[in-house]
Symmetry: C2
Subunit: 573 residues, 2 copies
């Protein structure tokens, strides 16, 4: 008998047509692909009651060429003025550039682009050459009341760069993308905001060759969007890297900043500690382009010592055990791991399946240790730093994990994770070709509220029939962590999905989580800001807005909820 | 022959008369004394060319009873209103209370009080019972435009609580001085702002007995003013404890705050990391009562494990070697010491003399290691945390110190320092009884500017004939530290001293230091704020001021330089 050939969907393996919508929303490089494994495919089929038939015809691929039936809202003279400031070669008014630099990587933006729908577009795209260009642009825009949006790496997950009011988009990663100075004595690097993650890390790793430095360095910040994001973006959206538990969030890594604002320009001092009143350096972090434009940063750097890296992985018997052990580790005062992640049972179980590790003999192995496949939770991590330190921290982590019934799995799972850590999101495009959505939300949480938030959000998501929900915690502090919810579903309609999504944010707030642990607010979460922070704290953010930007030209149209009308604000019971 | 009896000045050993000026400015408890040793006395005599005769008659001791010829600036009705809010027993309008709670511990304030001079005094002293009292008071004062000043522990070194415009002084340590909650799961304590250092630490150390906790905890914050300062004061003035290199500055230790302001009341979330825009929690830190009144704090706490503490002391051959080794330690990524201090040659030399350790055989011992008494620099420190961690960090510090030519001195000098760490300032009163002033300034500095700042400030101070100047660095970060200058002199007049002092601050700014590393700005440094931070950053602080306190009732009269006229601003060339 002839064995039936295994059906594999025709995942897209060719770069999108040039100047197409798809070339804009496609994640990763144009010729870079990461397809769902066969195990993934089987799992999704089963999950959503689909058959191979459903994966024969792709939907709304967005392969069409970008065309805009929208004239620039700026006058010829205004565009001429920008051209004078930055030079003719550094402005674009063609449809493609206008659409490309008006979009980030948020799922709703992708859904629109797949339908060739462009809701918001900037009138002119400008590539400033240096901070003096930015100063002239801000001055001119303030005089003419032209909105300014900033495009760093384009990876915003919160509609941070959507030009809701048209105007000009400044692209920072064209020219303002350099390491200006490596200060080995101060352990700092002075960089421009458009510097992309991999270029920055490479410059630091190769510091002896590039800067005649005595040592090699690392930036310490490795978000999943590392390859697609800029250093300036990390800071203004309050990002966290996957190794933040040791190196800190972007908030902690940036030491000083220089801003251009309608109210004037300034550079903060490079002091770690100082007692000269509220710290303007910190006030600007997370301002998402609504107060001014970040034009230069001094970042802390760290010794690059990959040879010292220790890896570990454990299987905990339950989510409760994984959480309690993690808390004890973070409060243990023996140093901290760099990467540290715990997955809930659903993420663990699916993960094992996807790696083909759900075989009966593997389950037998775990059950020997009293672990139950439906309850067990995976933990992976690394320790960095000096050799003896790394060894000691790993030893202590093993000791604590063991006391909570965990089985040590060696460092192998971590090496596997390290290989694909930046590529996982690329699968999103494949799924969407067949109408399946993979999206995420995440919240900060204190230890004493973790289970409450976990159960509340998870129940809400799982309450929707046929919805995958995988959860992990990945950024740890002595007093809490974050919860990251990944959900996969096949929505009935955009409307159905949108309402479902809004409900998740409501539930997060109702259960005492923050709306975002490390993706910023953008225009996506603006409507929830007041419900989350309260009128008084929003009043502070608005007062700063009025000071910096009285004409509301800086990223207007919902950013941080600063300028949205009352009837668009989300009310939480 | 009869040996002449050693003359020892008649240091004051009795508590000041009740209700006297001295009872206000005296440091420490009324019956607590710490006199200069004979070695100290000899050194000062020699230094200033004095004889025993000069130490026979005390000057301006301030033993007179406080009397004010100044009526309250508030009406009877207004005072009646405060009485209604907090209860009759919780307000005072008598001269003594008004003067006492109008003064901190700054040297210029002491000099005034010794002359029975009261430049600024509040009209009524109020002891709020809880945050509801504070809310009513702020609301009423805002309506009536009555200035509000806050007295925490009374240890301000920057005229932070001087009631420059009269009005009401709120004393926080009378009633609002409690640990409200110990949250062992989150590793936090919720406290009231008037809680004094020793009470707080005692509550945490005795957590099992006090709160049925599983473990003992420590607050991690031990400024020299520990016994005289309040938790709220630590935060609003941006203090640093002596163990800040490990535990962080007050800025890092406070997790959430609740404020009452004329623009409304709010409480920030207890998230360590969150990406919901600029962090209002951080904006309030260092606001020194000029934006609102801190009424509750959530502080991070740490495991109390004194049994793990490791102590170390070294003698480095030179200041340069001590600085370079310290930098390498702070950048070594093997963990951090808790206490860590390096003294410059003058402080080291005088320190040895004061401890009677300048004997020839000791110098011979050091010279065996190639150390020169005129150049050598003392380093002392501790490591805290988990046992293995503490051991490893100490081992690494010894290794690095050795590579810079340091001689290990065991932990004995640290134990000696620990015994008197909070008591040293008490000697100030003795010196001043004989017209000698001991004062300090301190600045934040980056590593690459340390020697420049050190030389600049030291040269200026030493340029004044007969002036002792001892310098140390005591709060370390990977990218810099602080420089703490202690100077002792016998001023010709107050005018001479004031001009000399102002010159020091000018020189600090000119040489790229911050005006303060951990004492705040108060009204003392207000005139330098704009020269230091620039108009643009001052603009941000002023915009926040206008938002929170449009009627300028919160600590008005120079705090943070927010409301001083242009002609009072110090201009730096």
């Amino acid at each position: 008998m002839l064995k039936k050939k295994k059906f594999i969907p025709n995942w897209t393996e060719t770069p999108p047509p040039e100047k197409s919508y798809r070339s804009i929303f496609k994640l990763g490089k144009q010729n870079e692909f990461k397809h769902p494994s066969y195990a993934w495919y089987k799992m999704m089929k089963k999950e959503f009651g689909l058959s191979d038939e459903d994966f024969r015809i792709k939907q709304k691929e967005g392969n069409e060429a970008v065309t805009l039936n929208k004239k620039s809202g700026l006058s010829k003279e205004q565009i001429e003025k920008f051209s004078e400031i930055v030079g003719k070669n550094n402005i674009s008014t063609d449809d493609y550039a206008r659409v490309k630099f008006s979009h980030g990587a948020m799922l709703f933006e992708v859904l629109d682009l797949r339908e060739n729908k462009v809701s918001f577009v900037s009138d002119v795209v400008v590539h400033p050459r240096d901070k003096n260009d930015v100063k002239k642009i801000v001055k001119y825009c303030d005089e003419e009341k032209i909105p300014i949006y900033v495009y760093g790496g384009g990876s915003s997950a919160t509609k941070g760069l959507t030009p809701a009011k048209g105007g000009v988009t400044l692209v920072m990663n064209t020219h303002m993308n350099k390491v200006l100075k490596l200060n080995e004595e101060n352990h700092t690097a002075v960089v421009q905001p458009g510097l992309m993650g991999p270029d920055y890390e490479e410059a630091l790793n190769r510091a002896p060759e590039r800067f005649h430095a005595k040592r090699r360095y690392t930036c310490g910040h490795f978000p999943q969007s590392f390859e697609l994001s800029s250093v300036g973006g990390w800071v203004v959206t309050l990002g966290s890297g996957q190794a933040s538990t040791y190196y800190g969030d972007a908030y902690h890594i940036v030491l000083a900043q220089e801003y251009v604002t309608p109210a004037g320009d300034f550079k903060t001092y490079e002091f770690s500690g100082t007692a000269t009143g509220p710290k303007v350096n910190d006030i600007m972090k997370g301002s998402e382009g609504a107060y001014g434009i970040l034009v230069e940063l001094t970042m802390r750097i760290f010794r690059y010592q990959p040879e010292n890296r220790k890896r570990f992985a454990f299987m905990f018997p339950t989510w409760e055990a994984a959480v309690s052990a993690s808390r004890e580790i973070m409060q243990g005062e023996f140093g901290l791991p760099a990467v540290y992640r715990i997955s809930d049972p659903e993420e663990t179980q699916r993960g094992l399946k996807l790696f083909g590790a759900d075989k009966s003999y593997i389950n037998k192995f775990f059950s020997m240790f009293g672990l139950n496949p439906m309850e067990q939770c995976l933990c992976i991590g690394t320790v960095e730093g000096e050799k003896g330190y790394a060894g000691h921290v790993k030893k202590m982590i093993r000791k604590i994990a063991k006391s909570y019934g965990a089985v040590y799995l060696t460092g192998a799972p971590v090496r596997k994770w390290e290989k694909t850590r930046y590529k996982e999101p690329l699968m999103r495009d494949d799924w969407m070709d067949y109408g399946i959505i993979a999206d995420t939300v995440e919240a900060s949480v204190t230890w004493d509220n973790l289970h409450n938030l976990y159960q509340g959000v998870r129940s809400y998501i799982k309450n929707r029939p046929g919805t995958v929900c995988m959860t992990h915690a990945s950024h740890f502090y002595s007093n809490g962590t974050n919860l990251y919810f990944i959900f996969i579903l096949k929505p009935e309609s955009m409307e159905e999905y949108t309402e479902f999504y809004k409900g998740i944010i409501d539930v997060m707030i109702e259960h005492g989580g923050s709306i975002s642990h490390h993706h910023g607010m953008g225009k996506l979460f603006g409507p929830w800001m007041e419900a989350h922070l309260g009128k008084e704290q929003m009043g502070v953010l608005k007062a700063l807005k009025s000071h910096f930007d009285p004409n509301n030209i800086m990223n207007p149209g919902g950013t941080l909820g600063l300028d949205i009308p009352d009837d668009e604000k989300r009310v939480i019971k």
